[in-house]
């Protein structure tokens, strides 16, 4: 007979408030195989864990049930606890009487009944638990950073400084990301480029960092510690080894194209680097617009290149490399405000977004830093800023707050006041949110010293009148309509996830939320990890973030990656799928259903009718298996079993609850 101990946690009043924990312990003591049951205020605390360890010794327990919170929260804690108490860590079951019970049921009597049922279920299962062993795998001591914005650069620098090789894969021809587009940074008004470009150079010159720009992650195979990553180097049409970045080609190129970097406000050539400080400072040919590719004529860049670096025949190149850790730092896109009819559906050229404004005010931007409105290049004197465009709008936009807009709008108003003397900024807002060091002070200065007029209310309509834009809205504090004739309107568009975030998430096998931001493993305690081991998050790809937060998170993600790479071997999960070869018919339905490619075919030999015959069976790679259980339900014969969640264990639970 098994000797099961049951430990019921109060979780302060979290559980004890809605569940009669003493009664749960009393009832649990009556369950089959249970020889000891008790309750304690905080089971996870040190004295709480001591209660468990003492009871293991005193009552000779060989199985433990902890009735407390979700196993997501404290299963590792209690596994360690019983391990130091002398038991195999997998001889533990948790009954989740908090998330599954006390938090969701207001009725204490009914909640107690349910808690007892949950404990009965766990006690029935734990009897069937078997000791499990982790196996270990080698770790490739190299990290991949996807995205070369400020978050990606910081991650790469931190990991590289710790002594591990890092590859940055950047989709654009240069690293730098959104921060390179930004003019000044709040709240100090440092020039963005002045603090970013040295970091870009540091990354480029770091002996441990390899930058692969104009490239994307094509395929991810393998598992934590040993990811096999296929990187697609897009055809750059310029030989990186020969090119010196002299710039003759883009000077002579006859084709002008709207610059993405300048938010279509300026022009670039068909062979181009996005901006002068690009890293690597070597151009790519935009094949969609290049005359050579469109018409077969031209080829001027090839003729003028002093080193013969231009190569029109270049093709996409796939390189495969092994990495131990992956940090995703793919950043954000801007909300497409053309869903808003009231702001002109994106039709009026002088209704621009915050990022457009950044380019207009930037000294290396299309207007050389002179703020000129896009339509007629007139210097705007009255500018209306509208906040929460696409943010905090359940009907047409996103439900969340984009976090950065209050501050950058204040910054824009400040820059307006500084650059265009005598100009006037009006800011329509819902709330002003400035939680951050020096942020509130900055906002107050914008209002006071720089005279920006904040109007609490929504804008109902923007329409052109002559060469002006009439902004009609409501001042909800005064309770009356306002109408402002503006020269330019700047929308604080929401930060949204990259349009291809879902695809990348599926390639990496990480989860993402309803807004396509990548999901962290725990919102509070594991903010930079994902549910896929070895994949970490940094920057705005996880949710809207400003630069200080992105950099801080990048450092955190780097620390996690370094923590992984610093080991030469790592343990793998013990709860993996197992094949009963005697029952397996080798149909391999499990192989085609496995999301982690952890199942392969294996040939075994057996004696049949006096002859040795060979047949195929499924075989699970323990390092790749994530224990999702998809194969175990696909297997009709039940020859696959998930250790720790075996059919026997599940059935024991069902019977405990239903019979």
């Amino acid at each position: 007979m098994r000797k099961v101990g049951v430990f019921v946690c109060h979780c302060g009043s979290n559980i004890a408030g809605t569940v009669d924990v003493e009664k749960v312990a009393q009832e649990a003591a009556k369950f089959p195989n249970v020889v000891f049951a008790t309750d304690y205020k905080y089971m996870c605390s040190e004295p709480g864990q001591q209660v468990i360890k003492d009871a293991i010794k005193e009552h000779n327990l060989d199985r433990v049930v902890v009735a407390s919170c979700s196993p997501r929260m404290h299963e590792p804690t209690f596994r360690r606890c019983i391990q130091t108490g002398g038991l195999n860590p997998y001889l533990l079951e948790m009954a989740n009487i908090r998330e599954h019970c006390s938090w969701v049921h207001p009725d204490k009597a009914k909640g107690t009944v349910k808690a007892i049922d949950l404990v009965r279920k766990a006690a029935a299962k734990v009897v069937k638990n078997e000791p499990l062993q982790k196996s270990s795998i080698n770790i490739t001591k190299r990290a991949l950073v996807i995205g070369g914005g400020i978050a990606g650069i910081q991650v790469a620098l931190d990991i590289a400084d710790a002594g591990f090789p890092v590859t940055i894969v950047e989709k654009e021809p240069t690293i730098g990301g959104r921060m390179a587009q930004i003019d000044k940074t709040f709240p100090t008004l440092d020039c963005s480029a002045c603090i970013l470009t040295p970091k870009m150079v540091d990354a480029a010159q770091h002996p441990n960092i390899e930058i692969i720009s104009y490239a994307e992650v094509d395929k991810v195979e393998g598992y934590v510690g040993n990811f096999d990553i296929t990187i697609r180097k897009k055809a750059r049409s310029v030989d990186m080894n020969k090119c010196t970045g002299c710039g003759t080609c883009w000077e002579k190129c006859p084709t002008k194209v709207d610059s993405e970097f300048d938010m279509q406000l300026g022009k670039r050539k068909a062979i181009y680097t996005p901006f002068p400080q690009a890293v690597p400072n070597k151009p790519v040919i935009d094949r969609e617009h290049c005359l050579k590719f469109k018409t077969g004529k031209c080829g001027i860049c090839e003729k003028v290149c002093p080193t013969g670096a231009v190569d029109f025949t270049m093709e996409d190149e796939l390189i495969t490399q092994q990495y131990g850790a992956i940090v995703v730092a793919t950043g954000f896109d801007q909300f497409d405000h053309s869903v808003y009819g009231e702001y002109g559906y994106g039709k009026y050229p002088d209704v621009i977004t915050g990022l457009h404004f950044e380019r207009l005010v930037n000294a290396s931007g299309p207007t050389m830093g002179k703020i000129k409105r896009p339509s007629d290049h007139k210097v705007p004197e009255t500018v209306v800023f509208i906040k929460c465009v696409g943010s905090r709008d359940e009907a047409k936009g996103k439900t969340y707050c984009s976090r950065t807009c209050c501050m950058y709008t204040a910054k824009h108003a400040t820059l307006m006041a500084e650059k265009v003397k005598g100009s006037k900024s009006y800011i329509f807002y819902m709330d002003v949110r400035t939680p951050g060091k020096g942020y509130e002070e900055f906002y107050k200065r914008t209002q006071g010293e720089y005279g920006a007029q904040y109007i609490r209310g929504r804008v109902s309509k923007v329409y052109p009148k002559g060469d002006k834009l009439v902004v009609r809205g409501e001042d909800s504090l005064l309770g009356r309509p306002v109408e402002i004739e503006a020269d330019m309107v700047v929308l604080a568009s929401a930060m949204v996830a990259r349009s291809d975030a879902g695809d990348l998430a599926r390639t990496l096998g990480i989860s993402y939320d309803k807004d396509n931001f990548f999901t962290e493993a725990h919102p509070k305690l594991r903010p930079v990890e994902t549910h896929t081991a070895g994949v970490f998050l940094a920057g705005a790809c996880q949710g809207p973030k400003d630069i200080p937060d992105s950099v801080a998170q990048a450092g955190a993600a780097a620390a996690k990656a370094i923590g992984l790479l610093a080991k030469s071997q790592m343990e793998t999960e013990a709860t993996v799928s197992q094949v009963d070869e005697s029952r397996c018919s080798g149909c391999l339905l499990c192989k085609s259903i496995c999301p982690y490619k952890a199942i392969d075919v294996k040939i075994i030999a057996e004696r049949v009718g006096g002859k040795t015959v060979e047949r195929q069976v499924a075989s699970v790679n323990k390092s790749l298996c994530q224990g999702c259980g998809a194969c175990t339900v696909a297997c009709r014969a039940g020859s696959l079993n998930l250790l720790g969640f075996t059919n026997e264990q599940i059935l024991a639970e069902v019977e405990a609850v239903c019979l």
Partner: protein
């Protein structure tokens, strides 16, 4: 005449030693029976026949010769051919171990037991052939006879729709009555080309997913589980319903699952080829379930 061609090609294959066995049909005890036959000698080929009573799906017999030396030739109607694909997709039969003799099939017929021989023209088609979507073999090495045209299959789901129209209680009562009759002989499973496990989940002596008692509850569990085990893999050969000694409308369950799968995951016909995986048997990045 198909029968002549069958005998010729079987004789040829056996004489040349290309195959060690030919699986086909021979005339049974009654005029309305044509039963499976296993020919290993060239002189026995005269036993082979093909007529309107070769209802049996022969494909599953291939499992018996999985480890046999050499090749086995097998006659396949449309449904038999899909069954062979089923077994090949389930990796139970290797393509190079079988020689497939395709026979386009005009549909099988049935006569009331005990009746005197009569012209087959007037006899009704068996249920499984009435809405057959693939009378022509979808895989074969040689085709005997000309391709036939597909019958109007718009009533394929008529029985399902009739049952769907019932209220929940009525449905429960109907199926309760049906499964109450089930004697759990497992004939449906044994004949099914989608059932190729080494040890069936219902036979295990370890975990009792299914109790051994013959009562409504366990019978329901058995039939529902079986429907789910063949979900997306049923090739509609109708053999389960044909062999059921209690005349349970088993194809209504299978077709309901097919109909649901088509509606949920897009049109899919099991066993048309080996490459296209069943809708419930593959992992796709674009899977609508985002949790994957």
């Amino acid at each position: 005449m198909i029968t002549e061609k069958m005998r010729d090609v079987a004789k040829d294959l056996l004489t040349k030693g290309e195959v060690n066995m030919v699986i086909g049909w021979e005339k049974g005890t009654f005029w309305y029976n044509s039963t499976p036959v296993f020919i290993t000698k060239a002189e026995d080929v005269e036993r082979l026949v093909f007529d309107e009573f070769c209802t049996n799906n022969l494909a599953k017999y291939l499992l018996d010769y999985k480890t046999a030396e050499g090749k086995v030739a097998i006659f396949v109607k449309g449904c038999d051919a899909r069954a062979v694909n089923r077994l090949m997709q389930d990796q139970q039969v290797q393509r190079d171990k079988v020689y497939l003799l395709g026979i386009p099939c005009g549909g099988m017929k049935e006569a009331a037991p005990g009746t005197q021989p009569q012209a087959t023209e007037g006899l009704p088609l068996v249920e499984k052939c009435q809405n057959c979507t693939s009378p022509n073999p979808v895989v074969f090495d040689v085709l005997l006879g000309d391709q036939v045209s597909v019958r109007d299959t718009q009533n394929r789901f008529a029985a399902v729709e009739k049952l769907e129209a019932l209220g929940t209680d009525e449905k429960y009562a109907y199926w309760g009555e049906m499964f109450d009759k089930c004697i759990r002989c497992y004939a449906c499973r044994n004949v099914c080309p989608a059932c190729s496990c080494r040890e069936c989940a219902f036979d295990g002596n370890g975990l009792n997913w299914l109790g051994k008692q013959n009562n409504l509850q366990e019978n329901q569990m058995f039939n529902i589980t079986r429907a789910m085990h063949v979900a997306g893999r049923c090739i509609e050969c109708g053999e389960c319903e044909r062999v059921c000694p209690m005349d349970l409308p088993l194809m209504a369950i299978n077709r309901k699952v097919i109909k649901d799968l088509n509606e949920l995951f897009g049109a899919y016909e099991a066993g048309m080829d080996v490459e296209n995986r069943p809708p419930l048997g593959q992992f796709k990045l674009e899977d609508p379930e985002k949790f994957m």
